[in-house]
């Protein structure tokens, strides 16, 4: 890849460091995701069966559903949610879920908006580090 870092737009601040899971398709966090275990349930999703816990989750966008924020907050509460979200399309539902989890449980999960070409580069890296200023460093 051309460079191993990029500056994201902070939708929810925080820091994280860990393995990356890059989703090939958008995901519905309500119905398509089990907040009790952090597992992708949607049988039509190419990464069905994978878990998001202790990973930095990169996805282009979600499939919108009113239940999304609560599913995200519940997964974070149980400790099986992602360490951070990297999104191409800023998503109100994810930020709402993460905010409520931060407020109720004092667990800070950063949400960072990145560009489409940056998302594409993520397919070729294993781990990432997110700094409180929104800097994403890939390794």
């Amino acid at each position: 890849m051309s460079k191993n870092w990029f500056q994201g737009e902070i939708l929810h601040a925080g820091d994280a460091n860990g393995p990356l899971l890059v989703l090939d398709e958008p995901l519905s966090f309500w119905g398509g995701f089990d907040p009790l275990t952090g597992t992708i349930l949607d049988q039509h999703h190419p990464q069905a069966g994978e878990t998001v816990g202790d990973k930095i989750l990169a996805l282009r966008e979600t499939r919108g559903s009113a239940g999304t924020p609560a599913a995200i907050a519940e997964a974070i509460r149980r400790g099986c949610g992602p360490l951070a979200f990297l999104l191409v399309k800023p998503d109100v539902n994810i930020v709402t879920g993460v905010s409520v989890a931060a407020h109720l449980y004092d667990k800070k999960v950063p949400v960072i908006a990145i560009l489409g070409n940056e998302f594409h580069q993520l397919q070729f890296v294993q781990t990432a580090k997110i700094s409180p200023d929104g800097l994403v460093t890939c390794r």
Binding site: H12, T68, A70, I76, H103
Partner: protein
């Protein structure tokens, strides 16, 4: 370059914690959403339909308990969506921690001051919003119905943000609250569909299912819906189009309030695409919704979204004096309000005498499974047929209201010959 968000004094007062930490959290969620949606200001809403009372985990309960503990106050009339359980019949789902917490959650929203209507079809109750009102919608069929059929304005607000908006009485001035975002971009024309079929209840489910999948994130307008199109028919489109495609607003020329004609719906701008709906499209839609082979049917599920007074009026004569087969159950989900209306008419008694079971407060396609829901299930709802196979251990078959009633009585698939593929495919 993102626009600046301008807050008025009251918004700022809430955000600064002037009304306590719960109202501060609510305003923080609203302003955060406003920034993501590129709104320049917040606007007042007059009504909210709350989905956060539908339990999916402990976080739901922790959130509302936090609000209650910190003196949160609703700013606008707020009505509840269905709950995971029925408060009227707690034995409906397997009892356990989930059912217990789901009930606690519903009671907490009552304590917060919500009107406990427990329905996904709040638009069937008196006191609904008017054309042009800004409101907070959350459940997908209700969002689409409010926007499309009533002409009230809402985005689809997810859990917590729906409550935050009801507490503050404010939403971002963005998306479907704004005129230009309500323009029809895509036309579905219906002249190739036989006229008789355009009046069948089944047709509207199939049309919604098809159009949702083809619309993507665009706003569609239908041309050629008959003047007889009822609110029940528009409810069917709303539910199906929001399930298969996430469409939060559609227009129907000559039918819905923002579409007196095609040009008005399109705001004078040429649509991007015109799709003639063909009989084959609707036949394929029926096939995709009706996956189970014909044969013995164990349950018929009606009322997604909640069954209306007029739907009960159509169903009751089909069942009067007859009885649901011993191997089959007939389950009808509705609101308390509509149930009370039909009880007063004597229809509830007639239906129950026929073996039907009327369930309020909740919906039947969610896990954990309702008692008795197993095997092969027939529904008249495209939305139910779309979601249930992923959520419940059942096989689904789909039919018209009459097919559902006759199937319940026969205990096996009954098919209406007048609605056969060949009839739909024939020239009108």
């Amino acid at each position: 370059m993102k626009p600046d968000l301008h807050l008025d004094d009251h918004d700022q007062h809430l955000l600064d914690g002037g009304e306590g930490p719960a109202m501060q959290l609510a305003m923080k969620l609203v302003t955060q959403a406003a920034r993501i949606m590129d709104a320049e200001r917040l606007i007042d809403v007059s009504f909210a339909h709350i989905d956060a009372c539908f339990y999916s985990g402990r976080a739901h309960l922790d959130f509302v308990n936090y609000l209650l503990a910190h003196d949160a106050k609703l700013s606008v009339p707020s009505w509840t969506n269905t709950g995971l359980v029925s408060l009227a019949d707690p034995s409906l789902r397997e009892d356990g921690t989930i059912a217990h917490e789901a009930r606690e959650l519903m009671q907490a929203y009552e304590r917060l001051g919500c009107k406990p209507v427990w329905t996904c079809a709040p638009y069937q109750l008196p006191g609904r919003p008017n054309l042009g009102d800004h409101i907070v919608g959350s459940e997908s069929n209700a969002v689409t119905f409010y926007n499309s059929v009533i002409g009230a304005r809402t985005n689809k607000y997810g859990d917590f943000l729906d409550v935050a908006a009801a507490l503050t009485g404010r939403v971002p001035d963005a998306g479907l609250h704004r005129d230009q975002a309500r323009r029809a971009q895509l036309v579905f024309s219906l002249e190739n569909i036989p006229e008789f079929f355009r009046r069948e209840d089944l047709f509207f489910h199939l049309l919604g299912h098809f159009a949702g999948a083809r619309s993507g994130s665009r706003i569609p307008v239908f041309t050629g819906l008959p003047q007889s199109t009822s609110e029940d028919n528009l409810k069917a489109i709303s539910a199906a189009i929001a399930a298969s495609g996430g469409v939060a607003l559609f227009h129907a020329a000559g039918i819905t309030p923002e579409a007196p004609d095609l040009e008005t719906a399109c705001q004078g701008i040429d649509p991007e695409d015109i799709i003639p709906v063909m009989p084959a499209d609707l036949i394929a839609a029926r096939k995709s919704l009706s996956r189970a082979p014909d044969g013995v049917v164990n349950m018929v599920a009606l009322g997604t979204p909640h069954f209306s007074y007029t739907e009960f009026e159509a169903l009751t004569p089909l069942l009067e004096g007859r009885h649901v087969a011993a191997n089959c159950k007939l389950l009808i989900t509705t609101s308390r309000y509509v149930r009370d209306l039909i009880a007063a008419k004597g229809w509830q008694e007639l239906l129950e005498k026929s073996g039907a079971e009327i369930v309020v407060d909740t919906c039947s396609y969610f896990s954990p499974t309702l008692r008795g829901m197993t095997g092969r299930v027939m529904t008249n709802s495209a939305k139910w047929a779309y979601y249930a196979p992923g959520m419940l251990p059942v096989e689904v078959t789909f039919g018209s209201l009459r097919e559902c009633a006759e199937t319940a009585i026969a205990g096996e698939n009954w098919r209406d010959r007048a609605l056969a593929d060949a009839k739909i495919g024939a020239a009108s």
